[in-house]
Every structure is written in structure tokens, then in C-alpha cells.
């Protein structure tokens, strides 16, 4: 009896809660760490970037306006779905990155997601303040999400790195347009399938596969993107110069990818939050 022929998957983009192909019709071959063909990934274009930014902007009022408790529950739901697909992620991460640490990497990624999910309804009390001003006013400061964040995801760490840069964006209430690792995009696409089935509103996270070098400049110069994480890009100086045209917040990132297994801190949350100070007089 012949071996069963498996059903191969067509990998697509994740924009506005849907899974379209690239409008350009382009694809590129993805290989595993041994050089064997695995799949064709959609090769996103400038137009796809614009569609994704527009979806992220549309989703921003709803996501940033949701209660922090609700955002926490949705993000925790993502972790539940990640756990359910654990084996699939281990296989994909191992195929992409090689080695034997696939299982521990996936576990760390799930735990990382849970860690950030728990921050949604705490970060404001850690970073906010009642300001003791010298006058008859009540003045308080609250952190609010910056807006739409462009993320050029790490090129090496296809899942743990991706989760480490995406989860803080979503936890703050920002919405995201992510360009995945170019050569290791499949865990990102699987993550988008998890996001699509986790009550995350459409457009809150958008994931594109393609080349950071090609798509990065469009994200950096886009007038409706408020912040940029260039960690997966090579020419970060050029991106930062583009970003200056709209006074984007550009994350300072290390030259090399950090050790993603290291315990995170709240610095990535801080980067995507704006402080808003409100004043009101006090009196009879």
C-alpha cells in the first residue's frame, strides 16, 4: 500500500482578519534548515503594507478602547490556542531553525505570551501617576497606546523572537503590522492562524511575509504608522531617517538579535505608550 499523500498548505498573508494572497501575486520558496523546499510563502508588496496599515488603523479605536481586562483575556486566549498547536509549532520551528531546542523555544514563546497578557491591566498602575501639583488641581497621568506599530520581526528567532516583539505591542493596546522573518516565515503564518481564532479583533495584528529590506522603508515612511521596531532590518539607519519624516517613535534595538530566552522587562511596553496628563480644578 502506498503512503498517504499529505495535504500541503498554501501559506498566505494575514491582513484585517483575512488571509489574502499578496495582491502582487508574488510568492517565494521557503526552505527548511537543510535546504529542502517546504512551501511557497506570499511575497508581500508595498500595496499589502498599505492595506495592512489601513486595517491596523481601523482596528485601533476598538482595541485601544477595549477594557484592559478584556485585552488581557483575549491575549490569554491566544496563549491557550498556542498551547493547542504546540506540536505544530515545534515542528515548524525545528524545521526553520534546526537544532533540538524546538520544544523549549515553543514553551518559552507560550509563556512569554502569557506574561504579556497579564500586563494589560497592570501597566497603567505601574507607569501612571497622580501628580502632586502645587495648586488646587487634580492632575493625573495615564499611559495610552501610541497607535499603529510597524514591526520588522527578528530574522533568526522565528517564533520566540516574533512573540517577544509582537505581544508587547498588543498588550499596550496598540495595533501591529508585522513583517515576518524572510527565510523563516512559517511559524509567523501559523501564529496568524492562532490569532485569527483567538477573539483578537480583525486588524489588531497583521502579519506579512516577505522581505524586510523591501517593505521596511514603506512602513518607516507611512504617515499612519506611529512607531517602528526595526529589529529585523539591516539598514536601520536609513529606516530611522525615513521615520523622522513623521516623528515616529523608533525603538533602539541591539545590533545583534538578543538572547530571546532571557527574562523580559517592561521596556518594550514603555516604548509603545504615551503619557497623557489630565488636569481639572478642585473647588466647591
Amino acid at each position: 500500500m502506498s503512503e498517504r499523500v499529505t495535504v500541503a498548505k498554501t501559506y498566505k498573508l494575514y491582513i484585517g482578519g483575512a488571509f489574502p494572497r499578496s495582491e502582487s501575486g508574488r510568492v517565494y520558496p521557503v526552505q527548511d534548515n537543510k535546504g529542502k523546499f517546504v512551501a511557497n510563502a506570499a511575497h508581500a508588496s508595498r500595496k499589502d503594507v498599505r492595506d495592512a496599515v489601513s486595517a491596523a488603523r481601523k482596528a485601533f479605536p476598538g482595541w485601544s478602547g477595549a477594557t484592559a481586562y478584556n485585552r488581557g483575556q483575549v491575549l490569554y486566549r491566544v496563549a491557550e490556542m498556542l498551547e493547542g498547536r504546540r506540536d505544530q509549532f515545534v515542528a515548524e520551528v525545528t524545521a526553520a531553525e534546526g537544532g533540538r531546542r524546538g520544544a523549549s523555544i515553543v514553551d518559552a514563546a507560550i509563556d512569554r505570551w502569557v506574561w504579556y497578557a497579564g500586563w494589560t491591566d497592570k501597566i497603567a498602575s505601574v507607569l501612571g501617576a497622580a501628580n502632586p501639583v502645587a495648586g488646587p488641581y487634580f492632575s493625573f497621568t495615564v499611559p495610552e497606546p501610541t497607535g499603529v506599530v510597524g514591526v520588522l520581526a527578528p530574522q533568526q528567532s522565528s517564533l520566540l523572537g516574533l512573540v517577544s516583539v509582537l505581544a508587547p505591542v498588543l498588550a499596550t493596546g496598540c495595533t501591529a503590522v508585522v513583517v515576518s522573518s524572510e527565510e523563516r516565515p512559517l511559524p509567523a503564518i501559523t501564529l496568524s492562524e492562532v490569532l485569527a481564532t483567538s477573539d483578537l479583533p480583525a486588524g489588531v495584528a497583521n502579519i506579512l511575509t516577505g522581505r524586510a529590506a523591501e517593505l521596511g522603508p514603506w512602513l518607516a515612511s507611512h504617515g499612519d504608522v506611529n512607531a517602528l521596531d526595526p529589529i529585523g532590518a539591516e539598514d536601520r539607519g536609513a529606516l530611522a531617517r525615513e521615520a523622522a519624516g513623521t516623528v515616529k517613535r523608533v525603538l533602539a534595538v541591539p545590533a545583534e538579535e538578543p538572547d530571546w530566552t532571557a527574562r523580559p522587562d517592561i521596556s518594550r511596553l514603555r516604548r509603545y505608550l504615551e503619557a497623557k496628563t489630565v488636569w481639572h480644578p478642585m473647588g466647591d
Binding site: T141, D265, A275
Partner: protein, 477 residues
């Protein structure tokens, strides 16, 4: 009924101890700058106040070296509790010399003495006092134990609140253990150089604070200098973008406090007399030379006629003239360049079809003055609704519903400040929540305090000044 005329109540200009010339302050000493000297004028009379030495490339190098040395040898290693005492001394010295500084500020800047006296000076002193207390408490600032300073900060400040902006920049930088090279604005260098004297009187170690007068070229030298770790800039969004571009791709840290086009929203349930006072304060404070000025008034349609009547009457009572007169409400525009810019935008407003009303108050013949002006029938597409005028010019638009007010208020690339006038608490909180601005004043406007973080969203810049959060811009965290 008897009418009492105003009698002038001028503050004496002698109090300013004006000197014929001022020099850059480098490594604890006043030195001859090798740049082309500039003449700073009194914008209310156009007379030259003093000649001021400026910095050249070599002066910038010398100052940065002095700041680096002071950072490594003295200020960086100094225990926070000791740094604190220097800052407390500076705060006290500013208070002691506040009358002199207020008069000097009004002479050099053109702002009314009642504002420099009651606002700029007390808040400047308060910033040093507040930050002094942080210097030995940084472990508790929420950035982990023993947060480290960045090193040498290059700071570039504008002409609208010369000494106050200096305080906003220098106080947090020093409290966190950095040393600074600061460039005051080309048209308002004097109080910064008196502040340098205060640093000497406080016994501040040489090199911790360096003040380099000059024009944009000196600022550019600071921005490009390889041995500066952080740039802090307050000024226009246009220049802010150039600076961000220059700093891009380097390891320099950057904070920007840029322009604004704040919406001041008046709902139909607002206490109208109080609201009109706030609107007037919001746009005419400091001649409208305020990045967070409430320059777009959004009035609920049902009350627009009443508000406009009250507003025009109130504005018509404002006195424009000698900045040193304690009766003066609106002083001089800071420079001929700024006056030209204001006139150009006002002409654009008329050309685009907005209805102009200008107070008929007497305006001095000499000096740079612009009578308070209110535009009604303004549409969102007009330049006077989109561009920062930075002068005593208010644009009035209308709205029908709270959500329309929020949409119009947020329809700008800026996001520095906003105002809300309403007696309904739930509405205030809901609108404040939806406004994309770094500071929201409800039933008040233009309140500043060192304990309250200030700074913008979007193209109004990034980073905050004041409060615990303000320390972040000067710490390696």
C-alpha cells in the same frame, strides 16, 4: 459713572542689571566665543539690549570636552545626595534673583512682566527644587535599581520661555547625573547667561553646565557632535524632524518637544464666563507663543453666538504694549521674523474666507506687536486651522456632537495639548480619554508643574518633561 483710566505701572528696567555684553559659559568660566557675535534686541522697542558672544565649532568642542570631563570625574561619580544640594542651591538662587531675571526675560523676550514674574520664574525655580529631590531617590523611580545617566546632553531650547525651558532641560539632566551643553535661542540668550552666573554662585563644578549662545548652526554642531550622548530639543516640528533625521542611526538618545495646534473644546453646558477666561488664557498667554496654545477653539454650535460675543468683548479689554508695564496683558512678538509669519498666516486666513475680527486696542508704533485676533467661520482645511501660527490669533470652528468635537480635535498631525470646557464630569472624562494629546486641561488651561509630565503625541514629539516619567529621557533605561 466715573471712568478710571489705566495709569502705567512700569517695572524698572534697571532691575535687570543689563550689561553691554554677555559671553558664552564654558567649563565654569565666561569666555570669548569665537563665533560671530550677535546683538539681542528688545522686541518692544527694537533697540539693541546687548552684544552676545556666540560659539564656533571649536567652542562647541571645548564645551563638550568640559562636559565630558565633568561627567566622568566629578558629576557622574558624585553621590546623588550631593548633586541634590547643588540643585537646591540653584533653585534658591533663582528665587532670590527672580525679580532681576523676570525683568531681563521681559526685556529680551517681550512677554508681559506679570507673566515672567508670576509664571516663568516661579515655575523655573520649582523645576530645580522638584528635581533636586529626585537626585538621591532614583532607585525608586521605577526603572530598576541604580539607573545610570546617559553622559553628556546637548540641549537646544526655544525663545518663547527662555529660562523656563532651560530649567525643564537642565534640572532633570543634572538630577540624573548627566552634564549639559545648552544652546539658548538666538533671540533670547540673556537669562541663560545669568543662569550661568547662578551656577557659579552655587559653586557648581566647572563643566557640569555649559551655555553656548548662537543660531541654528550651533544647534546643528551639537546635534552632530560625536561625543554627545543625548539631544533634547524643544522647538518647531520642522526643525525637530531635521534633528531626528540627523540623529537617526546613531547611538544618541533623543527627546523632542515640538509644535502643536491644540483644540480647546467648549460644550454647551460649560460655565461660559469661566470658559471664555480659559480660552483667552489659552491663546493669548505669552502672545500665543506657546507650543500648547489653545489655537483652535471648537464651540458647540448652539452657543457659538453667545461665546463669540463674550469672547470679543473680553479680548477687546486686553491691553497690549510695554512688556514691563504690570497692566500689560499682551506684550511684544519676539522677533520681526515671527511677526512676518503671523501676518502671513492671518492674510491666508482672510484669503481663504474666514471672518477676521481684530481688537481695536491701541498698538504701540515701535516694536513688534500684533493685536489679538479671532477668526470665525473657520474650516478644517484652512491653513489657520492646520498650521501653528505661534501668535495671538485664534481660529474658531464649530461642532454639534461630542464625537464630532473629538474627531475635529484629533484631525491634526500634532498632539500636544487640548482643552475641554463642560460641567458634566462623565463627558469630560470620556472626551479626555479620546483626545490624542499629551496634556488635556479640563475647565482650565495652560497649567504647568514640575510634578506633571508634559509632552506630545504624534508629530508634537516624543519623551516627557516633568514628573517621574520625565527622568526616563536622561537615564540609560
Amino acid at each position: 459713572m466715573a471712568v478710571f483710566d489705566y495709569a502705567p505701572a512700569p517695572e524698572s528696567r534697571d532691575l535687570a542689571n543689563l550689561k553691554p555684553s554677555y559671553r558664552p559659559f564654558i567649563n565654569g568660566e565666561f569666555v570669548d566665543g569665537s563665533g560671530e557675535p550677535l546683538k539681542t534686541i528688545n522686541p518692544a522697542t527694537e533697540e539693541v539690549l546687548a552684544e552676545v558672544g556666540t560659539a564656533s565649532l571649536s567652542d562647541v568642542d571645548t564645551a563638550v570636552k568640559a562636559a565630558r570631563r565633568a561627567y566622568e570625574k566629578v558629576w557622574g561619580p558624585m553621590p546623588g545626595a550631593e548633586r541634590a544640594k547643588y540643585l537646591f542651591r540653584i533653585a534658591r538662587l533663582i528665587q532670590e534673583r527672580s525679580r532681576e531675571l523676570a525683568v531681563l526675560e521681559s526685556l529680551d523676550n517681550g512677554k508681559p512682566i506679570k507673566e515672567s514674574r508670576d509664571s516663568d520664574l516661579p515655575i523655573a525655580a520649582a523645576h530645580f527644587f522638584y528635581h533636586a529631590g529626585w537626585a538621591d531617590k532614583l532607585d525608586y523611580a521605577g526603572f530598576g535599581p541604580d539607573p545610570k545617566p546617559l553622559g553628556v546632553a546637548g540641549q537646544i531650547i526655544p525663545w518663547n520661555f527662555p529660562l523656563l525651558m532651560l530649567a525643564w532641560k537642565i534640572a532633570p539632566a543634572l538630577a540624573t547625573g548627566n552634564t549639559v551643553v545648552l544652546k539658548p535661542a538666538e533671540t533670547t540668550p540673556l537669562t541663560a547667561l545669568v543662569f550661568a552666573e547662578i551656577c557659579q554662585q552655587a559653586g557648581l563644578p566647572p563643566g557640569v553646565v555649559n551655555i553656548l549662545p548662537g543660531a541654528g548652526d550651533v544647534g546643528q554642531l551639537l546635534v552632530r557632535h560625536l561625543d554627545i550622548d543625548k539631544i533634547a530639543f524643544t522647538g518647531s516640528t520642522e526643525v525637530g524632524k531635521l534633528i531626528q533625521r540627523e540623529v537617526a542611526g546613531t547611538s544618541k538618545r533623543l527627546t523632542l518637544e515640538l509644535g502643536g495646534k491644540a483644540a480647546n473644546i467648549v460644550f454647551d453646558d460649560a460655565p461660559l464666563d469661566q470658559a471664555v477666561e480659559g480660552v483667552v488664557n489659552g491663546i493669548f498667554f505669552n502672545q500665543g507663543h506657546v507650543c500648547c496654545a489653545g489655537s483652535r477653539l471648537l464651540v458647540q454650535e448652539s452657543i457659538v453666538d453667545e461665546v463669540m460675543d463674550k469672547l470679543r468683548y473680553r479680548v477687546s479689554t486686553m491691553r497690549i504694549g510695554d512688556p514691563l508695564d504690570k497692566n500689560t496683558d499682551i506684550g511684544a512678538i519676539n522677533s520681526a521674523t515671527q511677526l512676518t509669519k503671523i501676518r502671513e498666516l492671518v492674510e491666508a486666513g482672510e484669503a481663504e474666507g474666514a471672518h477676521r475680527w481684530t481688537s481695536s486696542c491701541p498698538v504701540p508704533e515701535r516694536g513688534f506687536f500684533f493685536a489679538p485676533t479671532v477668526f470665525s467661520d473657520v474650516h478644517q482645511s484652512m491653513r489657520i486651522a492646520r498650521e501653528e501660527i505661534f501668535g495671538p490669533v485664534l481660529s474658531v470652528l464649530t461642532f454639534r456632537t461630542p464625537s464630532e468635537a473629538v474627531t475635529k480635535a484629533n484631525n491634526t498631525p500634532y498632539g500636544l495639548s487640548a482643552g475641554i470646557w463642560s460641567e458634566k464630569g462623565s463627558r469630560i472624562l470620556s472626551v479626555a480619554n479620546k483626545l490624542r494629546a499629551g496634556v488635556v486641561w479640563a475647565n482650565t488651561f495652560n497649567r504647568f508643574d514640575p510634578a506633571a509630565p508634559f509632552g506630545g503625541y504624534q508629530e508634537s514629539g516624543f519623551g516627557r518633561e516633568g514628573g517621574r516619567i520625565g527622568l526616563e529621557g536622561y537615564l540609560s533605561v
